[in-house]
């Protein structure tokens, strides 16, 4: 091996074996960058898991995706027609406002809050072939307050989620201190998992075909649900969770079951569009009294 540089070394191996280093210029002295994580040796870890070059390669396209086929073949073109509006215009969202240009003090000042609201809202574009609402991901959030007392219940929660979804869940931690509830910052309190792609579609069909039809008290998702940005959520209790076939057939293995919240993240811009999308996947909706 050739030695770079002109300085003579007694050993060439020490230089060759030295770990790579990053040449990232500091962005700002206040922005912390863990440079160790940018080591070229870690680059392989950034390759997505469904790529054959990835370290933990896991083939994803192992069979036909029924739900995705339905979306592409039927739902997509229907949604385009359904949301067609003649002479549709972009509905502008409530934006942050300028402080005006009359004062030099306002030049670099943070923008003023939007009128009447604390948060700015996004523009609503008419639906064209480019932005047909699509289900991006499903987030299952199982906050477990029982786990604050008995921390081993965190393991049960994670096990239950991974059993249902086939994806490794993430541990949740409390963010704030509320002493009457025994909530302390940094305390583990349940788990969450974000499903995309095939796992999401599998979960979706299990939910609409096997679980929800068997829940007697289930009327549908509330029409009032939604964050007005096209994300809709509803909850399942620990009683309802029993109907997942993965749990139903191994009931003695899951003595502690926990309910969770399911959030559908869609690329729809309004809740109305998101509801239409979800109902085309087979979710019923109802008006709460």
């Amino acid at each position: 091996m050739m030695i770079k540089g002109s300085i003579r070394c007694f050993s060439s191996s020490s230089r060759a074996l030295r770990a790579g280093y990053s040449t990232v210029e500091p962005v700002h002295h206040l922005v912390k960058i863990r440079k160790a994580a940018l080591k070229p040796g870690y680059k392989d870890l950034l390759i997505p898991k469904n790529d054959i070059r990835a370290v933990g390669f896991k083939p994803e396209e192992i069979c036909q995706d029924r739900v995705h086929e339905h979306y592409v073949n039927t739902i997509q073109s229907d949604m385009l027609l359904h949301f067609y509006e003649h002479d549709a215009k972009v509905i502008e969202g409530n934006k942050k406002r300028s402080w005006g240009t009359d004062s030099p003090y306002a030049l670099y000042r943070n923008l003023k809050k939007p009128k009447g609201l604390s948060k700015p809202t996004k523009d609503i574009h008419p639906v064209t072939y480019k932005n047909i609402p699509e289900l991006k991901s499903i987030v299952i959030n199982a906050y477990n307050s029982d786990a604050l007392d008995e921390s081993w219940l965190n393991i049960s929660t994670k096990l239950q989620l991974s059993q249902i979804t086939n994806v490794k869940p993430k541990q949740l931690y409390n963010k704030s201190n509320v002493l009457p509830w025994k909530v302390r910052e940094g305390k583990p309190c349940g788990a969450k998992v974000e499903l995309t792609g095939r796992d999401m579609n599998q979960f979706l069909s299990t939910l609409t075909e096997l679980v929800l039809p068997r829940i007697r008290t289930f009327k549908g998702i509330k029409n009032t649900s939604g964050d007005s940005n096209g994300n809709i959520s509803f909850g399942l209790t620990s009683e309802d969770v029993k109907y997942f076939p993965e749990i139903e057939n191994f009931q003695e293995l899951f003595p502690n079951l926990f309910g969770f919240h399911i959030t559908f993240k869609t690329s729809a811009r309004t809740d109305e569009q998101a509801r239409t999308l979800l109902s085309s996947y087979g979710f019923p909706f109802y008006n709460p009294a």
Partner: protein, 270 residues
Amino acid sequence: MLSKVNLRAYSSAVKPSSISSTLLLSRNPVITADIPKFEDQYFKYQNELWRRLMWTFPKWFYYRVGTLSEQRFRELNKRPLYNNPNIEYPRGRPEIRQERDRRFKQEVILPKTYEENKSSEDEEAAANTSMSRKITPNSRTTKADESGDTSSLERKLARTLYLVINDGKSWKFPNFSLQSTEAVKPLHLLAEEGLYQIGGKNINYFNVSNTPCHLINKDDSKEYLIKSHILSGQFVPQQSLKFMWLTKEELSEHLDATYFKEVEHLLNEI
């Protein structure tokens, strides 16, 4: 001269054109699409790869030691070849971890929830009662496919089917025009009433939008196409009308060539 022709007048004395509404009633695919052989092989290959790379089945979790189910599981799944250090293995040394040979994919045989070698009558009786019955998928082809019955809704389950009717002269999509004596009606209602008239009320259908999906503009007529899906029920012809449920390819054979070219892009490939 040219600019005069293009100039838009405030009013013009055109002939009153007849407005009609055409129903594009489709039955959506019931089963997964037929895929090319290559794609099928790709899925099979990926599936095998997935099984090969899969983690060892945690039998210690699902089948607890000392239970009856564990005993049944043990009977079905024999231990792999023991890695004896004193033996030379010509086909490679077994790599045993957690009672699994890591050189190969793990094949887990689960105890059946139903009894094998039962008579068909017993099975049928059990099928209606037991949740743990054997699941046998239905055939992808149906009776209607075999007999070539084009008026059945149960043909070509993997494809989108469209309703066409025969008015004695040619095959076409059901078209309904407004009678001059009637009051003006929205296009989708015109299509709905017309459908119930020719096909009976026994149809549960979903109208995708009140907006037509296409307009065929002719000199003396405007034909609007209304898209909808049949969800349940049957099309039962009322006045000895001939009708068919056809796929896109079959439509190209039965419809008028210029008409088909006009509506081709509206029809589903799958």
